[in-house]
Symmetry: C2
Subunit: 183 residues, 2 copies
DNA sequence: CGGTCCTCTTGAATGGCATTCAAGCCAATG
DNA sequence: CATTGGCTTGAATGCCATTCAAGAGGACCG
């Protein structure tokens, strides 16, 4: 930063690579997207990507952050709905990411940085989930277990595409467990 | 089969490759186990594996079948226990396979044969689960949803190693949901 | 016994992949 | 205008899954 910089276009190019990688990872999958194809789609040489990212896993993490930032923004639009509606919204929104969910779990076993991202993701979503359940007045004794069951169920829904009807059935059953019985 | 055969040692060698592949896939992971390493550990040339298996995914499927056959055999020893005990047993037994669980989901997106194995696995476990819940007298209206929540929760437990205590908490919470209330 | 067919094994390709290396371009600073 | 450092690249390197062509060697037939 001392002498020379051309910083604007640089960060734009990084963002462009992330955008391209995001569509490729989501549509074709992480394994099916070689650095060569990604580079070609972004209009650069394969090497160039390594100036912006340490390795392919770093690109994955940037894509994950990008995806989650968007998802969080859009979540605000349904934040006031009842929990079963929000659940279904989450599942529908994130279903297009099923490839990414599998990829994160597969890469977490090989890449420490992806493992870290995965752990932090679970910490965040679990704590969000927990305050959700507390606010709904769910039984406090098995709160931990309920949170984990909820997170795992959503992960399962994301990884195993089901018909809309079955998705709603599962979301309703989860919500029914958490909100105090209607009467 | 018409003229010549030396069949005994042949099938033994295939079984030996599966055994070696099983320990490597479980301990090091599918991606981390190259065909070269697998072949070396089995005492053959890399090519030789391709005489017994179509490709690496076929080896994976043979390993999965091997693992599930053993698990099913051992399951008989706890078949008479109450459901929460059996749940915990399943989770503990299969936890060592967490690498395989992630691998199956990752490969299912790329290999039709692994996808088929995965679908059949879910069909079998879901139907097993369903009769379990029916026998326990669980509410029939949301049976589908409960089955899926149970399967997803177990998959989550397998993929995300937790302390024994939290595992038990989750298993108890699942079981409490299914068995008619104690009083 | 000699030939032949089949099962099984292998060394040496082939093509793809992530990643690295060394060299150079080009904008801005001095 | 010369230098410097951000940025780009063609050409390696080394690992990988998979294929190919060639060949052992046992079993059967005559």
């Amino acid at each position: 930063m001392s002498k020379n910089r051309r910083p604007k276009a640089s960060q734009e190019k990084r963002a462009e690579i992330v955008t391209v990688a995001r569509t490729l990872f989501v549509d074709a999958g992480y394994d099916a997207t070689s650095m060569g194809r990604l580079a070609a789609a972004a209009g650069v040489a394969s090497n160039t990507i390594y100036w912006y990212f340490a390795d392919k896993d770093a690109v994955l993490i940037a894509v994950l952050d990008d995806v989650m930032a968007d998802a969080w923004d859009e979540y605000q639009s349904v934040a006031a709905e009842p929990i079963s509606v929000r659940l279904l919204w989450v599942v529908r929104q994130l279903q297009q990411l099923s490839r990414l969910v599998s990829t994160v779990h597969a890469r977490a076993g090989r890449s420490p940085s992806v493992a870290l991202w995965h752990d932090n993701f679970h910490l965040q979503t679990s704590s969000l989930f927990r305050s959700e359940l507390e606010a709904a007045g769910s039984a406090a004794d098995s709160l931990d277990a309920e949170v984990m069951i909820g997170v795992f169920a959503i992960e399962g829904l994301l990884m195993h595409p089901l018909s809309e009807e079955r998705q709603r059935t599962v979301c309703d059953a989860l919500a029914a467990r958490w909100i105090p019985p209607p009467l």
